[in-house]
Symmetry: C4
């Protein structure tokens, strides 16, 4: 093992953090991280139980070709999806889960609406859901096309991936991202928590008005960007 | 104890795995495994607290006659149901639970619909529910008839037990199976998780369209069968 | 401490079992047990954190007069309710909780219907809910009257307390009982589990038909009474 | 560190108790306590992970001016809300959370109705929800105005903050208070539990009648005030 030693260690630890978050059932889910200067990203191998993983099992993949750069383990079957997201979005890490409530929203083909300040502290908009994929998109390059329909949806809605670091893939589940793989996992956790809140709101008061835009903007901008005043000075 | 020493050990460990999965309340639930060459299966004894079990307490039962082959403990009261499933389905282990959400679907007499890729990764169809049993079926050979109405339902729907490794018995609860007792427990866990997803979908969007068949087939076949590419090469 | 040493020890341990069951929030809940030959029952003291309890803190109360027989601690404020239940029902222990889902049914003034075999294995009927209490019943002898409206409800419905070992008090919460305080705690746990099942059924399929009486009777009688065949021979 | 050594220790421990209660996701939430004689309150710093906190990190703030009295850490961004509550209400500690179900009620803009004795044992009325804030209130002195709309709502409803030790801020989440920071945390925990009960009642029986006032008053007064008889004599 010569390539990406530190990145493999980070990706390993972020996959373990995903397990500790309680978002994982079985072998579902995976985390990756990118090193753009080196032209590669590193991702969990496919179908290996989390308890059996070690840092050296993490698989390095070329950002240019999508092929494995070293080792004999197959990368996650969702690797082509990660690749398309790294190409389209300026992020450092990606986490994919089948977490319970977010996956239910994906199956219900409903966005996770921004209904309050908890949401606005992390996501500056609704968390969108992709359109169903066509027969052709599923039959050829299915996982790559999964990434492309995510990017298409962000384009349609003119969303900024830094302000909206997550998405629901219809009838599949959530992807989240961040500046590094640990932030990606944090966003996956928060996305699930926000789905729980929104699910309860829909069962309590399906027609309640949305919060005002100025409240959402206030909360997003008090944590993010030049005017942020949440947390300690860096 | 001379019979089926290794199978008893496996069945004991699979019953303990069922407890660790969180699917068990009280003494509900049981796991069995079959040795077709030896003409027997081994099952948990009836009504013994899980914490008091040991491998030697597991009860060997004849596949031909359904009678206990060795020892003094009574087998699970659901033993005749397991027997009928082993006779009809080509599986190696069976797990029965009263897990919360799957049991609620059984009481609501609703199938767990296949609403997404999480479901399709494990079950290649909806998870069906049996018809209510008649007075005669309940009053005589009740547990055996429970097995027969499961087999009847699979026949009506032309389901393949390998592609649909689980069922809901109306007003009772789920049975799941697999190539061995550990896979049976894994399928029981997944069935409960899928019930949780489907319950939330029904509360969120009862009329949402089903996913396309080609998406379901793609996910089932990427994990199962000759074209599978999920996981590592064996 | 001279009175009821063994009974205090049992009641202490049953109260601890109640905490371990996860049914307790704060100081809510209490367990008692009766010694009819000695003319007394023993109950948890009022408002003492569970973590600070010891067996000697358990309070012995006269079955005849309802007064404390020894010590300086006040018994649970619900003591007069337990007293009326011991007078009316032939049971050995009583557990009271504010467990989440059962309490919600009590607040919704809905019975926990018998919707399947999980319920019928423990309770041979719906778990009933009392009528709201009058202003007079609340203003004078409130806790005693709580016991009396339970007994009234069982009379109206001709219920057998051995076949239906639990009840919901409207706008309050559940009481459960059994042959000893540990069975009472087990029934309180099962009552909460059955409430969870029934809550999900009501959200999934509010109009689904009830199970047939012959199925309910089969399951109750396979575990209870002269024809029981569940569990091991005693 | 010279100021408020003991109060910092208490506030630190109460923040840790908040984490242990399970009400915290990420860095959400904060607890404070007041020393009115010293003219200050002490609050958690902003955006520091709970696991990295120590008592000396707690920030003392002037009750008169709202400014930090010692140290270099920024106080919680919600500090001006706490300040307004200390000015208006006679309480010793305040806890703020984004706990799941209470936050969903805040997003649904629904009060947590008093539906039974569990509620009445802690809160002598419905737990109210504030009105949405105006653009001006959000754009200038947002956190201070959050406190003022809470106080406004208590005035409109003629609520006594000692009898109703908690509130929901619309599209934000709950605040709770008590005689000290530990009671504030206990009330935050109870508020969440009551939200869970009320959420289930609304999904089960949205039109069920409210409990009678005399039942609510009986339960609140048996635990609080001169006639209290719950718990042990002090």
């Amino acid at each position: 093992m010569t390539l990406a030693r530190e990145l493999r260690e980070s990706v390993y630890r972020a996959n373990m953090a995903l397990v500790e978050s309680g978002l994982v059932t079985g072998t579902f889910g995976n985390v990756s991280a990118v090193d753009r200067a080196a032209g590669l990203f590193v991702i969990k191998p496919s179908g290996v139980p989390y308890g059996a993983l070690s840092p050296t099992d993490m698989v390095p993949v070329s950002l240019e070709t999508g092929t494995v750069l070293e080792g004999t383990l197959r990368p996650s079957s969702d690797t082509p999806t990660h690749l398309e997201l790294y190409r389209a979005f300026d992020c450092g890490g990606i986490a994919h889960t089948h977490s319970e409530v977010a996956t239910a929203f994906a199956q219900a083909r409903l966005p996770i609406r921004c209904m309050g300040t908890t949401h606005a502290d992390y996501f500056g908009s609704d968390i969108p859901v992709t359109r169903p994929m066509t027969r052709d998109e599923v039959s050829r390059d299915y996982e790559r096309n999964t990434g492309l329909v995510i990017v298409e949806r962000f384009g349609e809605l003119s969303l900024d991936a830094a302000r909206t670091p997550g998405v629901l893939v219809a009838n599949h589940g959530p992807f989240a991202w961040g500046v590094d793989p640990f932030k990606a996992v944090e966003h996956a956790e928060m996305l699930e928590f926000l789905a729980r809140l929104e699910w309860r709101v829909r069962t309590l008061a399906p027609d309640v008005p949305l919060p005002d835009d100025f409240l959402v903007d206030r909360h997003f901008s008090r944590k993010h960007g030049p005017g942020a005043y949440y947390g300690q000075r860096k």
